[in-house]
C-alpha cells in the first residue's frame, strides 16, 4: 500500500471510530436513548429544529448533564494523553516512553491529591489542575535528567527510572491519604483508579482548552521532532535549538498529562498504544503522528469509557484499570520485540 492510501485508510478508520464511539456512548446507559434523539438534540443545540429532537426533558438532561460532558472530556483526555506520549517518545528517542509508565501520571496524581487535601474547594478546579501540572512537571524533569545519556535513553534506564518515580509518587500519595479526612480520601482513591464519571462542564472546559493548546504547540514542533530522531547532535547540526525544544516539550508533556490526570485520574498506556499503532500505519513522521494520535486517543478513550459501563451489567469499571488491562500486554509485546531486534535491553 502506498503512503497515500494508508493515510486515507487511517482517516476513514479514525472517523469511523470517532463517530461510532461518540454516538454509542450517548445512546447506551441505564437510560437508553435512540440515535435519532441524540442527533436531534445535537442539531437543536446548534439551532436546527428537526422532528428527531427529543420532547422528553429527561432525555435532554441525561444527554447534556451526564453523557455529553463525559464524552467530550473523554475525547480531550484521550487526545492529551496520546499526544503527550508521542511528544515524550520524540524527546526520549524511545518508543517505550509513556507518561503512565515512567511515572509522570503518578507525579501529576500526587499533585492533584495534595491540592485536594489542602482544600480543593478553596483553590477551585483550576487549582487542582495547576497542582497536577506541577507534580507532572517535576516527575518529567526527574525522569529526563536521570535517564538520558548521550541524547538517547536506554530502555532499561527508562523503565528503572519509571519504577523509582512511581514508587516515590505512590509513597507521597499514601502519605497524603494518611493525613486526609475521609471525604478527601474517597476522592483520592477514585483518582488512582481513573474514571470519567460525574464530569462537570467546568472541568471539560479546562481540559479542552489546555489540551487544544498543548496539541497545537506539539503540531508546530512536529518537524523538529523528526530531526530529533537523528540524534541530538545531528538535530543541532540541522539548526534545531535542542535545549529549548527539550524544555518546551517537557512543559507540554507535563501540561497535557497534568490536565488529563487532574479530573479523570491515572489512565495509563493510551500514550503508548495509540502513537504506536499510528506509526505502524502511516510511519513515524511527527506531523501526521501527532494529529492522528490526538483523534485516535480521543476515540479510544470514549470507546474504553463505553466499555466500562457495559461490560459488567449494573456496575461501572474504573477506566484506568481497563486501559492497563489492554495496554499492559501490549507493552510486553513491544518490549519483547525490541529486545529480540536489538539483541538485548538496550
Amino acid at each position: 500500500m502506498t503512503l497515500r492510501s494508508r493515510t486515507v485508510a487511517l482517516v476513514l478508520l479514525l472517523a469511523g471510530l470517532l463517530v461510532g464511539g461518540v454516538l454509542l456512548s450517548a445512546m447506551i446507559g441505564q437510560f437508553p436513548i435512540t440515535p435519532t434523539e441524540v442527533v436531534g438534540s445535537l442539531l437543536r443545540a446548534i439551532g436546527i429544529d428537526t422532528e428527531w429532537a427529543p420532547d422528553d426533558p429527561l432525555v435532554e438532561s441525561t444527554l447534556w448533564v451526564i453523557r455529553f460532558p463525559r464524552i467530550v472530556i473523554g475525547l480531550a483526555v484521550g487526545a492529551a494523553l496520546a499526544v503527550a506520549g508521542a511528544v515524550m517518545q520524540a524527546i526520549f528517542g524511545n518508543p517505550l516512553a509513556e507518561p503512565g509508565v515512567v511515572g509522570v501520571s503518578s507525579g501529576a496524581a500526587l499533585g492533584a491529591a495534595t491540592a485536594i487535601v489542602l482544600g480543593a474547594s478553596a483553590i477551585g478546579l483550576g487549582g487542582i489542575a495547576l497542582f497536577a501540572f506541577l507534580g507532572g512537571l517535576l516527575a518529567t524533569l526527574l525522569v529526563y535528567v536521570v535517564s538520558r545519556a548521550g541524547g538517547r535513553t536506554e530502555v532499561v534506564t527508562l523503565l528503572l527510572t519509571g519504577i523509582a518515580v512511581n514508587a516515590i509518587a505512590s509513597a507521597g500519595i499514601a502519605f497524603v491519604l494518611f493525613i486526609a479526612d475521609s471525604a478527601s480520601r474517597e476522592q483520592i482513591v477514585f483518582w488512582q483508579l481513573g474514571s470519567l464519571a460525574g464530569t462537570l462542564w467546568d472541568q471539560v472546559a479546562i481540559v479542552f482548552v489546555v489540551g487544544t493548546i498543548g496539541v497545537a504547540i506539539s503540531l508546530m514542533l512536529a518537524k523538529r521532532y523528526d530531526l530529533l530522531a537523528l540524534g541530538e547532535r545531528n538535530a543541532r547540526h540541522l539548526g534545531v535549538n535542542v535545549e529549548r525544544l527539550r524544555l518546551f516539550s517537557i512543559v507540554i508533556v507535563a501540561l497535557l498529562t497534568g490536565v488529563a490526570v487532574a479530573f479523570t485520574g491515572i489512565i495509563s498506556f493510551v500514550g503508548l498504544v495509540v502513537p504506536h499503532l499510528v506509526r505502524m500505519i502511516i510511519g513515524p513522521a511527527h506531523r501526521g503522528l501527532i494529529l492522528a494520535s490526538a483523534v485516535g486517543g480521543g476515540a479510544l478513550l470514549v470507546i474504553a469509557d463505553l466499555l466500562t459501563r457495559v461490560l459488567v451489567p449494573g456496575a461501572e469499571l474504573p477506566i484506568g484499570m481497563l486501559t492497563s488491562l489492554v495496554g499492559g500486554p501490549f507493552f510486553f509485546w513491544l518490549l519483547y520485540r525490541q529486545r529480540r531486534r536489538s539483541g538485548g535491553w538496550a
Partner: protein
C-alpha cells in the same frame, strides 16, 4: 552549481579560521594551541593516531564544542555568535554515529537535510539538492526502505546524502569511509573533491593515510593534541614524520601521474 550554494567566498579564500585552540577534559590536554585555516575549494584531511584529538578538533571547528582557549571564526564572525539555524546554513556535519530512533524511510531522512532551508528556498531547489545528493551517494535503490533496516555501510551513505542535501559552503565529515567497502570509500573521497571543485570546503577525518594523501589538497597531522604538520600530502607524508607520530616504521611510495604518496608499514 546549485543555486542555493552561491559561492560565499572565492576559491582559496579563508572560510574558517581557528587560532590557539586548547581543550582540556578530565585533566587531560585534548588539544593544545592548534592554529588552522579552512579555505574555499579545498579538501582538508585531518589525520593522526587514535586519541590524537581529530574528532575533538572537528567538533570545535564545526561549532559543537566551545574551546576554553582560542577563537574560531566562521566567515569573519565568531562561531559561537551564530544561532543554530544560521550555522546549519553554513556548515554541515557527518558524525560517526548515525542511529535513527524511529523507522523513517530513506527518502525522508535525506529530505531532512533540507530543513534549514525551509521557507527560504524554492521547492525546485530543494528537489534538485535532494536528487543530486541521492545520485552522488548511490542510494537510489534504497529510497523506500526503512533506515533502520539498512546495513551499516548503507546507513553511512544515506547519512552522507542527508549532509550533502544541506548544501553548505563547509562540509565536515568525521570518518565517512569507516563502514564503507573499497568502491564506496573511493566514491566518497572523489565526491569530496567534486564538492571542493564547486568552491566548497571539505574537512574530513580519515584513518587511511594513503586515501587521505590521494584525495586531499592539504593534510593536517595531529599528534597528542598538537598540530604536528599541515601542508600538501607530499610535504606532510614523510617516512620520518609518519614513523615518529604513529610509532611504526613506514615506507612511502609514490604512484600515479601526480605521484601521490602511499604509506605502507615496513613488514618483515
Amino acid at each position: 552549481m546549485m543555486p542555493t550554494t552561491k559561492p560565499i567566498a572565492l576559491p582559496g579564500e579563508s572560510l574558517l579560521r581557528a587560532r590557539g585552540i586548547g581543550v582540556r577534559r578530565d585533566d587531560r590536554q585534548i588539544l593544545a594551541s592548534v592554529d588552522i585555516e579552512v579555505h574555499a575549494g579545498e579538501v582538508l584531511a585531518l589525520v593522526g593516531p587514535n586519541g590524537a584529538g581529530k574528532s575533538t578538533l572537528l567538533s570545535v571547528l564545526a561549532g559543537d564544542l566551545h574551546a576554553e582557549h582560542g577563537t574560531v571564526e566562521l566567515l569573519g564572525r565568531g562561531i559561537q555568535t551564530y544561532r543554530p539555524l544560521e550555522l546549519a546554513r553554513r556548515r554541515a556535519v557527518l558524525t560517526q554515529s548515525n542511529a535513527v530512533s524511529f523507522p523513517f524511510r530513506v527518502i525522508e531522512i535525506v529530505s531532512m537535510g533540507r530543513s534549514p532551508w525551509l521557507r527560504v528556498s524554492d521547492l525546485a531547489d530543494d528537489q534538485k539538492a535532494i536528487v543530486q545528493a541521492i545520485e552522488a551517494t548511490d542510494i537510489e535503490h534504497l529510497l523506500h526502505r526503512r533506515f533502520t533496516s539498512l546495513s551499516g555501510g548503507e546507513q553511512a551513505r544515506v547519512s552522507l546524502a542527508r549532509v550533502l542535501a544541506q548544501t553548505t559552503p563547509i562540509v565536515f565529515l568525521d570518518e565517512p569511509t569507516a563502514a564503507l567497502d573499497l568502491r564506496h570509500q573511493e566514491d566518497v573521497m572523489r565526491l569530496s573533491r567534486t564538492l571542493a571543485s564547486e568552491g566548497r570546503a571539505v574537512v574530513v577525518v580519515v584513518h587511511d593515510l594513503s586515501l587521505a594523501a590521494a584525495y586531499a589538497n592539504r593534510i593536517a597531522l595531529l599528534h597528542d593534541g598538537r598540530l604536528d604538520a599541515v601542508g600538501t600530502p607530499h610535504d606532510v607524508m614523510t617516512a620520518e614524520r609518519v614513523g615518529r607520530v604513529y610509532g611504526l616504521d613506514v615506507q612511502i611510495h609514490h604512484l600515479g601521474p601526480d605521484a601521490r604518496p602511499i604509506v605502507l608499514p615496513v613488514r618483515d
